[in-house]
């Protein structure tokens, strides 16, 4: 082995730049990791974590910058080359075949000449050695999510990696399963294997990681020792301290409550989903309330519960204009003058290969003026709405009525927001109003939200963009792991506090939550 004695690092990524079109996904990022170290990679969605990891794992090539492996400059052309070096990766979403056994699934990832009989023995040995009990002949379909993750980990361990990359491994695990995973990771680290650990969960980063690299908007913002930080200070570093000055002109005295959530809970069947727990929130006429939080803490489940895509079992949990409607579906809530804009514009907010006028029908069919009469669609009326939206929101398009997918992200977002605005809703719920949208469109959309609230409507904004939240909202609540904090007046909330809330400071103690 020709180990360069001048380097104590297992892996170094120096001055990595990755450009996608206009976007600098990684802008001069440097990361280094020693053998036996559990290194956290932190950042918001879109901060550039995935891009950096893909470059290290060989699925992407850096525009500029250099990777060093054990002190030697290397080029990682593809994931196979990464595995050859000794880099293994466990993805957040598993790639397993339900109908095959554990052994068969692992064999698929190995060279074709592997002896399956001997492999089962190796799997059993490795899984027991590392505290990841697995039955080699079990069918994947019968296994829990935690057990499935073990298959992915064992698959990496069989190749005796020197560096293991884990992408949000605990997002799908129960607390007990997560504890077990931490034991395994610590054992691996004690044997000299490096671990690059991506997570949003700051408490666990503090618990197991020795070092942390924090990215924001593609740039390296800090390299810190998580043991010396608080969860709140880590959150501050992630979301940034340069939050815009709070706007002075707040709305007048808020009016009567238009949207009330009372002990709203929603269980989840999806292993990747988040259950909502006892959410209480009131939004009054004339105000904008924002829900902040790190991605994946129940925002989309919360949106579905408020919109009525997932009605509640208890009618009293959601009230619109004072009337209970928790069991009502989205159409009946729309008839209560509520309007909704989901996070995904393509495939959720709009049907990609339908023209815009038909996408108008999507949300106007039960409420729009004359869009549907006696069960028949009035195409002319739908086209009129489309023209009105287009004009009001400056939707730029090639033809009068193009397919939704032919529009750019910003223009389509203006369309899906504008489509609801033309209804002049009394309640507007919008998830990530300006996600992936250019600055001009974002400003226009934010102004429209403010104008709507000032005209006497209640606006609920779910966003991960703290700048946006401080720019437009009157009060701010924070969601973490499906629990919602109290909504604080925006001018009273410091970054320190919001960071603490994002890290879960308001979450109820487990025994209290379990008792309910």
């Amino acid at each position: 082995m020709n180990v360069d004695s001048s380097s104590e690092y297992l892996l170094e990524a120096r001055n990595i730049v990755k450009v996608f079109g206009e976007l600098r996904a990684n802008d001069d990022v440097t990361l280094s990791l020693k053998p036996g170290e559990i290194h956290a990679l932190l950042g918001e969605n879109g901060a550039g974590k995935s891009t950096l990891v893909k470059i290290i794992y060989g699925s992407l090539q850096a525009t500029s910058g250099q990777l060093f492996w054990k002190g030697q400059p290397v080029t990682v052309a593809n994931p196979a080359a990464a595995r050859e070096l000794g880099i293994g990766m466990v993805f957040q979403h598993f790639s397993l075949f339900d109908a095959l056994t554990v052994t068969e699934n692992i064999a698929l990832a190995l060279p074709a000449d592997v002896d399956i009989g001997a492999l089962a023995g190796r799997i059993e040995k490795v899984s027991n050695d590392y505290g990841l009990p697995l039955r080699p002949d079990a069918l994947v379909a019968d296994l829990s999510v935690g057990e499935r993750q073990r298959i992915e980990i064992v698959r990496c361990l069989l190749q005796e990696p020197r560096l293991l990359i884990m992408d949000e491994p605990t997002a799908v695990l129960t607390p007990q399963e997560a504890d077990q995973l931490f034991v395994t990771l610590e054992r691996l680290a004690s044997e000299g294997c490096g671990v690059l650990y991506i997570s949003h969960r700051l408490e666990e980063v503090k618990r197991i990681c020795h070092d942390a690299t924090i990215l924001r908007h593609g740039k390296l913002v800090a390299r810190v020792d998580p043991q010396q930080e608080t969860a709140a200070s880590l959150a501050n570093l992630m979301v940034g301290a340069e939050v815009a000055a709070v706007k002075a002109d707040r709305g007048g005295v808020p009016g009567s409550p238009l949207l009330e959530l009372v002990d709203l809970s929603l269980p989840t069947n999806d292993p990747f989903g988040v259950a909502l727990k006892n959410i209480n929130l009131t939004i009054r006429a004339g105000e904008i309330v924002a829900v902040a939080g790190v991605a994946g803490n129940g925002q989309s489940e919360f949106f579905d519960a408020v919109s009525g895509e997932q009605p509640s079992a208890n009618n009293e949990t959601v009230k619109m204009s004072g009337e209970a409607c928790g069991r009502e579906n989205i159409t009946r809530r729309r008839r209560r003058h509520a309007a909704f804009v989901p996070e995904e514009r393509i495939g959720h907010g709009a049907v990609p290969d339908f023209p815009l006028s038909e996408n108008v029908v999507l949300t106007h069919h039960a409420v729009g003026e004359g869009v549907v009469r006696k069960g028949l669609i009035n195409r002319a009326a739908a086209r009129d709405v489309n023209s009105a939206v287009t004009e009001l929101f400056d939707v730029r398009k090639g033809t009068p009525d193009p397919e939704a997918r032919s529009l750019s992200g910003g223009n389509l977002q203006k369309f899906v927001v504008g489509r609801e605005m033309t209804r002049e809703p009394k309640i507007l719920v919008v998830n990530q109003p300006t996600w992936g949208v250019d600055a001009g469109a974002a400003a226009l959309i934010r102004q429209a939200l403010i104008d709507l609230a000032r005209s006497g409507s209640a606006v609920l904004v779910i966003s991960q963009d703290l700048d946006e939240i401080f720019e437009i909202s009157d009060r701010i609540a924070v969601i973490s792991r499906g629990e919602m904090s109290e909504a604080y007046p925006a001018e009273e909330l410091s970054l320190e506090q919001i960071g603490l809330l994002m890290a879960g400071a308001h979450e109820k103690a487990p025994e209290k939550a379990a008792a309910s």
């Binding site: 989205i330 959720h348 290969d353 669609i377």
Partner: protein, 359 residues
């Protein structure tokens, strides 16, 4: 020279219409080769197969008789497939519809009134709808794959029919032949003109027009199209996927059941162990060839009816198996699905095999 499929930036509207034409052309050409391989004159054989059925009044009437059930069923299946609901069991729904409707003449043999005919048609539709509701229930309640359940139920229906005509419903005066009592008077569909064309043909055209308006103009049709394209957007619009599954299965089942009762109360005039030459399966081809558009189904149904007639003609005049019809139908579906690739992709001829390689 290398042939490469390149993804189009958007769907080709032209290819949506050209694809069936191309598929028909390819089917005819390959059919010609098959006839040549059988030692026949391909041009004569193709003439007998495709053109002759349209040259006499008799055969045009026969064409309408065969096209009517294909169009009725195909129009319903087109709605199903638009919603991404895969009803493969129309043949079974046809059979059960025929049984429901035939129960009237079997149990009330002497009853003669216009009401009998109406009741038979209604029961036929109800029977097909109920039988179609089984895979819908299994899918909505248990998540069972409707392709498998609807297909397997075909054999259940056919065995039930077989048992009935050989057992409890066998005509006591029928010399032990496996068939029901012959239907008479108001138990039969009125004929249009002198030949065998019955009012089933009118029902087919009416169904096509209603479904065309429904899919093109109504909110229900919009709901079906949205659920088919983008279930998540459908949920956002407040449309229930389960409701669409129920609706599609029961609608297509009802139309298949109607086709079934029209068969037994029309050309057959009684229940027999076999009541359809596979209309329920052929209608799948009709739906796709008709671009899942009810009006398109009208033309596709006529074309597929020709393949049935041609098969019979080829058997009589050329002395080849009547399975030829199935070969042609199979080729047609194969080519239409292959040609549909060109809606989303274009063919590019890349120069030289070695010259162009990945960068």
């Amino acid at each position: 020279m290398m042939i490469v499929l390149e993804k189009r930036s958007e769907q080709s509207k032209a290819m949506t219409f050209l694809s069936p034409v191309l598929a028909i052309g390819l089917t005819v050409v390959i059919g010609g080769f098959i006839f040549t391989g059988l030692g026949l004159d391909p041009f004569k054989a193709l003439y007998i197969y495709f053109i002759e059925p349209m040259t006499s009044i008799w055969s045009v009437e026969e064409l309408i008789v065969k096209a009517a059930p294909l169009i009725l069923i195909g129009a319903g299946l087109a709605v199903c497939y638009t919603a991404n609901v895969w009803n493969i069991g129309a043949e079974g729904q046809l059979t059960i519809g025929a049984l429901f409707g035939a129960a009237i003449p079997v149990y009330f043999t002497a009853w003669q009134s216009p009401l009998v005919l109406v009741l038979m048609l209604v029961l036929g539709a109800v029977g097909g709808a109920l039988f179609g509701a089984i895979p819908a229930l299994l899918k909505n309640r248990f998540g069972a794959n409707e392709i498998l359940t609807s297909l397997m139920l075909v054999y259940v229906a056919q065995l039930l029919l077989d048992w009935l005509v050989r057992g409890p419903w066998r005509d006591p005066q029928g010399f032990n032949f496996p068939q029901s009592v012959p239907f008479e008077g108001w138990q039969l569909l009125p004929l249009l003109g002198e030949g065998r064309v019955h009012i089933g043909a009118i029902l087919a055209v009416v169904a096509v027009i209603i479904l065309w308006i429904m899919m093109g103009r109504s909110l229900r049709g919009f709901e079906i199209r949205v659920i088919g394209r983008s279930p998540r957007a459908g949920a956002f619009a407040g449309f229930g996927q389960k409701r669409v599954v129920w609706f599609c299965f029961m609608l297509s089942g009802a139309l298949a059941g109607l086709a079934g009762i029209c068969e037994v109360a029309g050309p057959s005039g009684q229940l027999q162990p076999t009541i359809s030459p596979g209309y329920g399966f052929t209608a799948i081809i009709v739906a796709f060839l008709g671009r899942l558009n009810p009006i398109g189904v009208l033309f596709a149904g006529i074309l597929l009816a020709i393949s049935y007639l041609g098969g019979e003609a080829a058997q009589v005049e050329l002395g080849i198996s009547d399975k030829t019809a199935q070969v042609f139908q199979g080729m047609l579906l194969f080519f239409i699905l292959a040609c549909d690739t060109l809606i989303h992709y274009r063919i590019k001829f890349a120069p030289g095999a070695g010259a162009a390689k990945e960068a």
